[in-house]
């Protein structure tokens, strides 16, 4: 009796397995960054409404996790497209290649700004990237002027820069697994870090130490991991007017009555300042397409066309309504042509 039950279950399992594997996938499968997720999903939805294709399935796995899945091979059980809030790394290209994923098409879709905000009930902060680095880095240059590094001694913003208010340094931000945190470290902290000549000199001499110094966030309680949920950070800022929070521009735009973006190097984070790159803390957003799947899984070429159309990513496209900052027109048309002809990634240019 028991044997029969087990045998029956096993048979049912294998049967369903084989029948499911035989049925071709008829929807596009997208994985990757949670920052690009809100934009990819809008396009997916519009695409399914406007065409006869099924709605693409968009998963939010994080940039690194998405690329790992994407590079795990070709075939129906692997995703067709992965979103990334940073550029693909050489190691990931190699991983892809070793699993038979040879031709990858890179599409940059626009920019995202990272803001440092506080509650509207508090005074708006005006910072430089150097202030941000000094306030949040694990190790900072010795305040006595000697070219050595010491554990971060600063307690208040005034200690960092006498023109700032004498408020305790308290910053709520995403955890180390988040792409937003990576970008914040790279753009804001490293930007301030290399204003110290002796650290900048380290870059060519000892890149590893340089990166460790510039990207390490202090762990003595001044920087608080507030989880991946940006809405939560906004709520916590409201409850604690002394704290600052790190999150994406689209959350600032949606909660402009509750929080205000700090001015960084004289620039307020607005749609315009991020678009013309005068606001220093912004990063490019990408997605990557597996060329081998185009024409096998229905609708990939059409999806690309929708994503790279003016009505989606243009200056007044629907993606800008969701908080994405568009690229200049010339860049858009070049990338759109690339996407149409499916020109694969050849070699990785330096990050721009």
């Amino acid at each position: 009796m028991n044997k029969r039950v087990i045998a029956g279950t096993l048979a049912a399992l294998t049967l369903s397995a084989s029948s499911a594997a035989l049925a071709a996938r008829d929807h596009i499968s997208i994985v990757g960054s949670s920052t690009v997720y809100p934009f990819a999903t809008v396009v997916a939805e519009r695409f399914s409404k406007a065409t006869r294709f099924k709605a693409p399935v968009v998963e939010s796995t994080g940039s690194g996790g998405g690329l790992k899945l994407f590079c795990s091979g070709t075939g129906e059980s692997t995703p067709d497209i992965t979103n990334a809030s940073r550029r693909i790394k050489q190691s990931e290209v190699d991983l892809c290649a070793s699993n038979g994923v040879k031709d990858i098409v890179e599409v940059q879709i626009g920019f995202d700004g990272i803001v440092l905000a506080n509650a509207t009930s508090a005074e708006r902060m005006s910072l430089t990237r150097r202030d941000i680095f000094l306030a949040l880095a694990k190790q900072v240059p010795n305040p006595d002027g000697s070219q050595t590094l010491v554990e971060n001694p600063y307690k208040t913003w005034k200690d960092v820069n006498p023109t700032l208010p004498a408020k305790k340094i308290e910053v709520l931000g995403p955890p180390p697994t988040s792409g937003t945190r990576d970008a914040f470290a790279e753009l804001a902290m490293e930007g301030g870090c290399k204003t110290f000549d002796f650290i900048a000199a380290m870059k060519s001499a000892d890149k590893k130490t340089y990166k460790a110094v510039c990207h390490s966030v202090r762990e003595d309680g001044a920087y608080i991991d507030a989880g991946e949920n940006d809405n939560l950070i906004v709520n916590k800022l409201n409850a604690n007017p002394d704290a600052l929070g790190v999150f994406g521009f689209s959350f600032l735009e949606q909660n402009i009555d509750k929080v205000q973006g700090s001015i960084i190097e004289g620039q307020e984070p607005t749609f315009e300042t991020i678009a013309d790159k005068s606001y220093p803390v912004s990063r490019p957003l990408f997605f990557y397409v597996k060329k081998a799947h185009v024409g096998v899984i229905p609708g990939i070429a059409e999806f690309l066309a929708e994503f790279t159309s003016e009505k989606a990513w243009g200056d007044e496209g629907y993606l800008t309504d969701k908080g994405m900052i568009p690229m200049p027109r010339a860049a858009r048309s070049e990338i759109a042509t690339n996407a149409r002809t499916l020109a694969p990634l050849t070699k990785l240019a330096a990050n721009h």
Binding site: A20, T41, E45, S77
Partner: protein, 432 residues
């Protein structure tokens, strides 16, 4: 002399007993007090939670609609007759824009027009398309219809009671003026939001619905129930009634108890390795979700089923044996029916746990944006807790109320499931 001594002694004993008694009563009182206090505290927490959720979420069941006077002008639409291919290409957007322009002729420059056009939801052209498909004779005619408004507009109107002047967000001064005039003339109305229950997820809060997640949860749980209940009960019956007591069965027992305490994400990783990478089942499907959740709920079901079987008095087994029943007959005719209510309780606890899981589903691709309502167990799907998580993480303000509304739907689903189980248990229960 001896008498009075005895009397004194008696009194002494009584007074001591009385003292003791007082202390014992006091102890009981304190214990009861603590019991009541903890229950009150628990109820208070639940009440606070529910009020908060209902207060935040009730708005999601209502949505503002805008009255529009549209003309299905063949010229604007760019079609001559109503058929499938023509409707797919027709410019319904233009019809909506014309209607908005006619209502507010003062909006002349590009910026103003853009603001004006952003009042109706992006779903409005599709609503018009469906309407024309239903009633082709309307081509060329005028009609007054109600269309959904954009989430920014909806949030603005809904906040009018709470915030002085309303939550402006991305609504400009000029747009707010238009909206107020529409609101005061009754052209903006609050209606029950049926779309919330009839459509899948959307990135536009006003169009987002819970149905895809609800159906996904139901399909996933169905697979879980269909697999975990028979397997769990079979395993429990074998271990309890047939298996010899030796080191192997001890080892299995220890392992089952350990598995019940394994973090659920581990089962997700197992599912990714076995079902997706080895068996090549489709990602994001309720089939895999059900399989993974089966692995997760099996220990719970086995443990509670074994407890239920153990609770069947041995006299019943012995009586059946005495009447000449075989062991299989004893189990299936006597033990199982009596243990069934207890097994069902275990299954329900396991399923309720499975209903709230998101962690194991992350690895197998069910934490995903799903627009189409799934129709089978191999279609891509998501589940209710994942939908709550995704909405809670969205930047748009209007998703806050959707999140709370989705929590209410999840609770309703859970309560229905539990009530069904209670009813079933009552029906099957036998007393001896």
């Amino acid at each position: 002399m001896t008498k009075s001594h005895a009397l004194r002694n008696q009194e002494k004993v009584r007074s001591r007993i009385e003292q003791n008694l007082k202390r014992r009563y006091r102890k009981e009182k304190i214990f009861r007090g603590f019991g009541i206090a903890s229950i009150v505290f628990g109820l208070l927490c639940v009440a606070v939670l529910l009020t908060d959720i209902i207060y935040k979420g009730h708005g999601a069941f209502f949505q503002h609609y805008l009255q529009l006077e549209v003309q299905y002008d063949p010229e604007t639409l760019g079609i001559e007759q109503v058929d499938e291919s023509a409707l797919a290409l027709a410019n319904f957007d233009g019809v909506i824009k014309d209607a908005m322009k006619a209502r507010f002729p003062e909006a002349r420059d590009r910026r103003a027009r853009r603001e004006l056009y952003s009042i109706p939801s992006t779903d409005a052209p599709f609503a018009l398309r469906d309407r024309l498909q239903q009633a082709p004779q309307l081509l060329g005619e005028r009609e007054t219809i109600w269309v959904m408004v954009d989430d920014d507009v909806d949030a603005f109107i809904k906040s009018l009671d709470e915030i002085e002047g309303g939550f402006r967000g991305r609504v400009s001064e000029r747009k707010a003026g238009w909206l107020m005039s529409l609101y005061e003339s009754g052209e903006l109305q609050n209606r029950f939001n049926t779309q919330f229950f009839t459509s899948g997820d959307s990135r536009e809060p006003e169009q987002a619905g819970i149905k895809a997640a609800l159906v996904g949860s139901a399909l996933t749980l169905l697979v879980t129930l269909a697999l975990s209940f028979p397997i769990g009960v079979a395993a429990a019956v074998y271990l309890e009634e047939f298996a010899p007591k030796n080191r192997w069965t001890d080892l299995i027992e220890v392992n089952i108890n350990n598995l019940a305490a394994v973090p659920s994400i581990v089962f997700g990783l197992l599912g990714l390795a076995i079902f997706i990478n080895f068996f090549e089942l489709p990602r994001s499907a309720p089939l895999i979700g059900g399989l993974v959740l089966t692995l997760m709920t099996l220990p719970t079901i086995i443990i509670s089923s074994r407890a239920a079987i153990k609770a069947v008095p041995p006299s019943i087994r012995e009586a059946a044996m005495g009447m000449g029943a075989s062991r299989i007959q004893v189990v299936f005719h006597h033990v199982l029916p009596l243990a069934m209510p207890g097994m069902l309780t275990g299954a329900i606890i396991g399923l309720a746990q499975a209903l709230g899981e998101t962690a194991p589903l992350l690895m197998i691709g069910m934490v995903a944006f799903i627009v189409d309502v799934p129709t089978g167990i191999t279609d891509p799907a998501t589940v209710l807790p994942v939908q709550i998580f995704l909405w809670a993480d969205s930047p748009e303000r209007a998703f806050i109320e959707k999140t709370s509304a989705a929590i209410m739907v999840l609770l309703a689903f859970l309560i229905t499931m539990n009530l069904g189980a209670v009813w079933l248990r009552k029906k099957l229960e036998r007393r001896w």
